[in-house]
């Protein structure tokens, strides 16, 4: 099986000796550089394969000044957003032979500094900062590191590359979907006003209604918490009045879940009487709702992948457009 060389690692000296050549020749044969007869090259390669030779990245990095590692900093240990982003980064970079150092720093500046120093000592080629909120920075200053930095789903300086989902476009898609379903009285039930995403989504909601010549009022946007309970409460408040909506765009899936449940308790048919659209495509919520939620997916894994690729371009010295990159969201149409 694999991994038989458990004791002594095979080095390029072993390959060279077995092939009766120098390490220089062996190196060149394996890296497809230098000049030599194709017989020699093939023979060395065959022997390397037979011996199970795997070059020591550390030694290679020492001369190449490239470690093929990057550091990933996050302040999120529980959230559901970070993991897909990290998975995307890891997946996008492994294709380039790059491995990712995971560093969780909570909100602890000293811990963050320790991690950053450890990363730098290990000669990372670059750093990705990621977090739980796009309007809060990590507890450590990364702007004058000796390596490039990319920000994903966390606040970064204006002159850096920062990747976030395009909340406006996602919200627009959601509201347009409601309009396309023939809904005309559309409200927006969303989270706390001190989140930037709440502003973005609410603004896009209002603009989309306006563009469709539908009535839009400040009262159409209800701010609360990111919870099912708030969904319940908002429906209770709306149904207590006369001007009941026939379409509801929710700021996240939990609110939408609460909304759908509250409507069902009131015998209001979803989507017969009211259409509901959520945000996040948190599958455990969206798919379990009855009916399953139509919702906006932020494509976080893809966002992570793009962040990784952007960093690679910076590391390679290629030109990369600075500033905020807004990545498209996708509407996932289910039953609501």
């Amino acid at each position: 099986m694999s991994g038989q060389g458990a004791f002594e690692r095979v080095t390029i000296y072993d390959v060279a000796a077995a092939a009766g050549v120098s390490t220089a020749t062996a190196s060149k044969a394996l890296n497809d550089t230098g000049r030599m007869s194709s017989e020699t090259r093939d023979r060395i390669r065959r022997i390397a394969r037979e011996l199970g030779f795997r070059p020591n990245s550390l030694a290679r990095s020492l001369t190449s000044k490239r470690s093929f590692t990057v550091g990933l900093l996050t302040d999120d240990t529980y959230g559901r957003f970070t993991l897909p982003v990290m998975a995307g980064i890891s997946e996008g970079l492994i294709d380039h032979g790059v491995s990712v150092f995971l560093c969780t720093v909570e909100d602890n500046p000293e811990l963050a500094k320790v991690h950053v120093d450890a990363m730098l000592d290990k000669q990372v080629d670059g750093v990705i900062a990621t977090g739980k909120r796009i309007d809060k920075p990590l507890p450590v200053e990364l702007s004058h590191l000796p390596v490039p930095v990319v920000y994903a789903l966390t606040a970064g300086p204006a002159e850096a590359v920062t990747l976030v989902p395009d909340d406006r476009q996602g919200a627009r898609a959601a509201v347009q979907h409601l309009i396309a379903q023939g809904r005309r009285r559309i409200v927006h039930i969303t989270g706390p006003g001190n989140f930037r995403v709440v502003h973005e989504r609410a603004r896009a909601y209002a603009e989309t209604l306006e563009a469709a010549h539908l009535p839009v009022s400040e009262a159409g946007t209800l701010r609360g918490s990111w919870s099912e309970r708030w969904g319940h409460e908002a429906v209770a408040a709306l149904w207590a009045g006369d001007d009941r909506p026939d379409g509801i765009f929710c700021g996240n899936d939990q609110i939408a879940r609460g909304v759908v449940d509250a409507l069902r308790e009131r015998q209001v048919g979803v989507p017969r009487d009211v259409s509901v659209v959520g945000f996040d495509n948190w599958e455990i919520v969206a798919e379990q709702t009855r009916p399953p939620l139509t919702t906006v997916d932020m494509n976080l894994k893809e966002l992570g992948r793009q962040a990784g690729l952007a960093l690679m371009r910076l590391v390679n010295g290629e030109a990369v457009e600075k500033g905020l990159w807004k990545l498209p969201c996708t509407l996932v149409v289910r039953g609501s």
Copy 2:
């Protein structure tokens, strides 16, 4: 433009030259090895500090055969369990100067192999495997890697170190709490029977009742899905009969949430008439439930930390007890 690596790194040669000594002496001064006058040692150290010298880990690893990195493999990109475990690992290891390579492998054996090979090439000192289910292994064989492996929250071979929460003890604590609240008719509403944790918790539930001389029947354990909906359904079924419980131990917090909501809809007082205990301490669920859920915390971050420390001991060649390590759970008492 910052971060174009324009800075020249300070090497030990620079320090040695500035101090007028050889690199050997500089190395020994900085590592507190070898023999020299304390004036020399202090002077070299001071100069190193002034120059901002930071040793290149790569070069150091090349000779020391220790890279102070470990690989972390996970098959979970969405779950809520993995992130705290990873955070604990990262936190526990950074104290040892060890950084963690994050590798997400989904259920893809080839991807997993690529990641493992990349890790090995980068000379990781060890590997930690973690996942979403303690009864499913990762899609890659790790048992004859040339470095030690520790398993956390995923299935590992019998002869390895595997860390999992002590589900039995946690379940026992939950049921004992219900009994201490004066509850006597206690049922268990839990997840699908093909999860090992379902068996463990159900068994501990039954044993604890038995030990307290309370009635225990197979009908007292209701298996369903890990969803709020199932909590609702189970309550509906129970309250349709005559033998209604006064204590409910739920297999996870989502079920408990559904149970509490269903009870409230039925005007059953929690905890006035019925006490409910969940499992997981998923704060976003447990704290939002009305009343807030009393639940079992699996201390996943601590589990991760222990996994990291166990790996370090293996790497250092210290004796480590093999087999399944069951780490204690903690009952978090809230309002239910």
